[in-house]
């Protein structure tokens, strides 16, 4: 690890100010950033910790919308339970260490193509709240490790409309336990939404063909005969693009079955 300065602001305003410095970078739970630093693949001069800011933490369930502070850790979301599919997802990220350090804002800001939370945000039609604005999930995920966030912009909260039915099924990459393919399905006021993580070279995506089929019949059988093309899927040590494309079909059916 290269040497860096660590700022620990207690208010959002101080954090924004500190992030204005040259080469300053926000540090949330650090479950991606710290290993990256340890591997000496990043050299920020200043890290601004967001986990000491109370206004970025906590979970509120108001009028069918679950608002989760950006610096809320996975373990707290797992315990909450007011959006069961989301708590289920959070409770299966990484291991207890990861779940007690990693945060929802950190995960969404990083937008790892194999992370779980992006699937939940996209399938739920969530709103990403930042210090500047509100961004619909549909406009937020812009590619591999790419988001609509501007430099120095911080996720302060994520608003999830709680759907009528929802489920997440993760098929794990055996070594990392990230999603080799993860599918989040919802049925609610926004209709049926299906978001797939882990599979595509472009990061999380909505499988619109499946959404249409499920809109008229929310059952696994509605997906018979549907498939996503292998073209554009990730190929690596743990699976070919064909394998991932195939798994998208299988895992989506399982998610629909689980959603009931």
């Amino acid at each position: 690890m290269y040497a860096f300065e660590l700022e620990r602001p207690t208010t959002l305003a101080d954090a924004i100010k500190a992030l204005g410095g040259e080469e300053a970078q926000p540090l949330s739970g650090g479950q991606t950033l710290i290993p990256t630093l340890k591997q000496r693949l990043a050299m920020p001069s200043t890290l601004v910790s967001l986990t000491g800011i109370d206004e970025l933490k906590g979970i509120k369930n108001e009028g069918g919308t679950l608002t989760i502070g950006g610096a809320t850790c996975h373990a707290d979301v797992a315990k909450d339970g007011s959006y069961p599919a989301l708590s289920d997802l959070a409770g299966h990220i990484g291991d207890p260490h990861v779940r007690n350090r990693g945060t929802i804002g950190g995960s969404l800001a990083n937008n790892d193509p194999s992370a779980c939370y992006p699937a939940a945000a996209l399938a739920s039609g969530a709103t990403i709240v930042t210090n500047n604005r509100e961004i619909a999930a549909d406009n937020y995920f812009t590619g591999l490790f790419e988001t609509a966030l501007d430099e120095g912009e911080i996720i302060t909260a994520v608003k999830f409309p709680i759907p009528e039915k929802a489920a997440y099924v993760k098929f794990e990459q055996p070594a990392s336990r990230f999603a080799l393919v993860g599918v989040f399905v919802t049925k609610g006021a926004n209709g049926v939404r299906v978001a797939v993580t882990g599979a595509s070279e472009g990061g999380v995506f909505r499988w619109t063909e499946a959404e249409e089929a499920l809109s008229s019949n929310f059952a696994p059988s509605a997906l018979e005969g549907l498939s996503v093309p292998a073209d554009g899927m990730i190929g690596d040590l743990h699976g070919t693009p064909e394998y991932r494309a195939h798994l998208v079909g299988v895992i989506t059916k399982r998610a629909v079955m689980k959603a009931g």
């Binding site: 290269y2 055996p174 990392s176 040590l237 394998y243 195939h246 299988v250």
Partner: protein, 778 residues
């Protein structure tokens, strides 16, 4: 099946240190004025080094010294040969490499050590090392052992007259094998792979070197399974000093698995660097660094053909193997070359064999031993082929094995590969395994799997291990107050030797176990020892300990005779007492022992101090032991995804006389976990340029607790006849049987779906592809 009454298990003597975080590992050692070493590792798998520019590093903060291969040469440091070559084990002469501890001319794999930086902190050393510019002229790369034997393959060692082959080890009887194949009713041919895997000790490698100018003496603290071997190698080959001028200490070691059975370049580098800078030098391998630079295990391709009768009786096996040595013939690479061939007959009368193992240089990091060391490869072949034969003939897995099993009354039995089994009740083990595994309840479980849309498969396999290599020495000494110290030549790094050896001595001498101290792992305290690997310590350490006890009692008897005013030959030793036969005169051993330490008096005529030492010897030269057993495994496969679960596993192990069944079962469980990793998850993957692509735990998959089934383990005691304790080894058994037990069960599950072959590791992705291809073919 146990016939030894055993005391209840009260935990290990090591539990306090290991379970409460009080263990002392090399990383915990901090010497005054200590500084740190960072390394420059080769990024090319094969290249000439044109230049190494250290100028920027020398000016970096905290940097004390920068050393390169040129400095090694200037200081006259020697190169490191293999620990021993196959010729020592009766094999042919081969090409032995000489490895430089810092390479200055040509790198032959990624991770070769090129330069070191000594600095005030580990971070300073690493940061400075990154600024060192190495100018390479890349050379063509070959990573596959078989491809490396082609005439036009890039050659690693210019003066090797045999291309890239170091040595080809033949075994068996070619003519008899050909005759058996000419008469064969059934023949089956297969190509089998055992890919390279990482030993992956939980504690990464770590070394601290300290040169003491006052005594002109070096001390090395290193995480090793064999401190004396490390001392000999470094003193003789690298530093070229008397062995008495080097002390090697291996305190608590967090797992070895063969990785730490030999020296690594860093062990020599920290000593040399310490003399250079006049301060102790510490090197702490990071996980990434160790994945690149650790020796690896397995790495074998084998073409095998079996001959048999229609009744299922094997008549011959022929096989040709290519073992991927990597860039050097390094460490203890010799034993796996032999064991991978010698144990192919397994528990069976196989008729004739004709086997060859080619040890081949490639541009991969060096291969050496890993738990099992060749035995898993041999067992994989024997048991894969036994199932192929059963499938071909439509026979039951247990039945075909019993037809071929060597009968107990044939013991001692010499196999076609020259192993002489002293004992074993192989068919009984198969029957017992069937009972323990609920063999007859399988159909109902298979039906339950089908109802869930899954397919179930099962296997029944047997294995034979050869345990007890080289010789050993143990010492028992009384302290002046009548307490006891064991000085062990073996080296426990998780095996619980302090518990087992202390319990044995407590039992023999009737001394409370609390009064026994256990010493190991320090060349200043232990005269000589071979350390621990290859399931050797129960037989060789145990036998040497027994002989040390006998020698100690004989010596004590001299003093007891004087104190009891009796003839030495009229004394019997039992329950901690010397008793005069046919009389009520008696004296406790501890009282006798104290008399050896009185400062003056007539007893001094017998000398000062009471100790006993004992030695033992195994293979080669003397008889080893042959642990064996049977495993039954059931797996469940989800054909839609290729995901699979090891649902049930029963392990029946003949360990000879049981010393401590809980510790034996712990060894079995750990071995099975590693065997599962080999079967399903683990592979060190290199691309065609020789770059490691599975170099972190994000990609290199290790088994986790959640993957393990409940293991139904039962120990069997078929007393070994080659050692006075009647013991057999246990350390590798699980790792030998589990890979093929799991793969065979998977194949049993998917054979009806058209998949007849799959290579390790059987990952979910690979299994799904095989199923999809089979479906397309139908």
């Amino acid at each position: 099946m146990k016939d030894t009454p055993e005391k209840p298990f009260k935990g290990r003597l090591e539990d306090r240190r290991f379970l409460t975080g009080k263990g002392r590992y090399v990383a915990d050692i901090t010497l005054a004025r200590q500084c740190y070493m960072g390394q420059v590792l080769s990024t090319h798998a094969h290249a000439r080094i044109l230049s190494v520019d250290t100028s920027e590093a020398e000016t970096m903060p905290g940097v004390i010294a920068v050393l390169t291969g040129a400095d090694c040469a200037a200081d006259g440091l020697g190169t490191v040969p293999p620990f021993f070559m196959p010729s020592l084990w009766g094999g042919p002469e081969g090409y032995a490499t000489q490895r430089k501890i810092l390479v200055d001319d040509r790198v032959r794999c990624v991770g070769e050590r090129i330069a070191i930086v000594i600095a005030e902190t580990a971070d300073d050393a690493r940061v400075a090392a990154e600024t060192i510019m190495v100018d390479y002229a890349p050379l063509p790369v070959v990573t596959d052992a078989r491809a490396a034997t082609e005439a036009d393959a890039p050659k690693l060692w210019d003066d090797n007259e045999n291309g890239n082959i170091s040595v080809s080890i033949p075994m068996g009887d070619k003519a008899a094998t050909e005759a058996a194949f000419a008469d064969a009713e059934v023949t089956i041919k297969r190509r089998l792979l055992s890919p390279r895997i990482a030993p992956f000790s939980l504690e990464p490698r770590v070394s601290v070197g300290n040169y003491d100018e006052a005594d002109d003496r070096y001390t090395l603290y290193t995480s090793s399974q064999d401190p004396h071997g490390v001392r000999s190698n470094i003193a003789r080959n690298v530093l070229k000093i008397a062995e008495s001028r080097l002390r090697v200490v291996s305190p608590d070691v967090g797992g070895g698995f063969g990785l730490k059975a030999h020296m690594h370049p860093e062990d020599a580098l920290v000593l040399w660097a310490s003399k250079h800078v006049g301060r102790p030098v510490k090197w702490l391998g990071t996980r990434s660094e160790c994945m690149l630079t650790d020796t690896q295990g397995r790495g074998q391709e084998i073409e095998v053909e079996i001959a048999a009768t229609k009744a299922g009786k094997l008549t011959a096996i022929r096989a040709e193997a290519w073992t991927n040595l990597g860039a050097y013939f390094w460490g203890t690479a010799t034993p796996p070359l032999f064991f991978a061939m010698q144990l192919i007959p397994n528990i069976y009368d196989v008729g004739a064999v004709d086997l060859t193992n080619h040890a081949v240089f490639t541009n991969l990091p060096p291969m050496s031993v890993y738990r099992g060391a060749g035995r898993p490869e041999a067992t994989y072949l024997a048991e894969r082929m036994m199932d192929e034969l059963a499938a071909e003939l439509g026979m039951d897995q247990a039945e075909i094995r019993k037809i071929n099993a060597i009968a107990p009354d044939a013991m001692p039995y010499t196999t076609a590969t020259g192993m002489t089994y002293d004992s074993g009740a192989f068919a009984d083990m198969i029957d017992a395994a069937a009972r323990v595994s609920d063999w007859s309840g399988y159909d109902a479980r298979a039906e339950e799997s089908r109802a869930k849309g899954r397919v179930r498969g099962r296997s029944l396999i047997s294995y034979v291990e050869v345990a007890g290599v080289m010789n050993e020495r143990m010492e028992i000494k009384f302290e002046p107050d009548g307490t006891v110290t064991i000085v062990a030549g073996t080296h426990s790094h998780g095996q619980g030797h302090a518990t087992v050896f202390s319990e044995m001595v407590a039992d023999w001498l009737s001394v409370p176990v609390e009064n026994i101290r256990y010493v190991q792992g320090d060349t200043d305290k232990v005269l000589i020892g071979r350390g621990t690997f290859a399931a050797r310590s129960s037989m060789l350490g145990g036998t040497a300990l027994l002989r040390a006890k006998d020698a100690l009692i004989e010596r004590a008897k001299l003093m007891a005779a004087i104190l009891l005013e009796a003839d030495k030959d009229s004394l019997d030793f039992a329950d901690g007492m010397f008793k005069v036969r046919d009389s009520n005169k008696a004296i406790a051993l501890t009282e006798v022992a104290k008399m050896y330490y009185i400062p003056a008096g007539p007893a001094n005529a017998l000398g000062l101090g009471l100790t006993g030492e004992g030695t033992s010897a195994g293979k080669p030269g003397a008889a080893p032991n042959y642990p064996n057993g049977t495993m039954v495994c059931e797996v469940e496969v989800d054909p839609r995804t290729g995901a699979l679960t090891v649902d049930r596993l029963a392990a029946l192990d003949d360990v000879g006389r049981i010393l401590n069944s809980t510790i034996c079962e712990g060894q079995i469980h750990g071995g099975i976990a590693q065997g599962m990793g080999q079967a399903l998850m683990e592979e060190m993957v290199f691309d065609e340029d020789g770059q490691l692509t599975s170099g972190s735990l994000m990609d290199y998959c290790l088994p986790r607790a959640e993957h393990m089934p409940d293991i139904a383990s039962e120990l069997s005691e078929v007393t070994c006849t080659t050692n006075p304790l009647g013991v057999k080894g246990i350390g590798e058994s699980g790792a030998i049987g589990a890979p093929v037990a799991i793969v065979n069960a998977v194949l049993d599950a998917v054979r009806p779906l058209g998949v007849a072959h799959i290579d390790m590791p059987v990952t979910q992705a690979k299994l799904w592809s095989a199923l999809r291809d089979a479906e397309a073919a139908q």
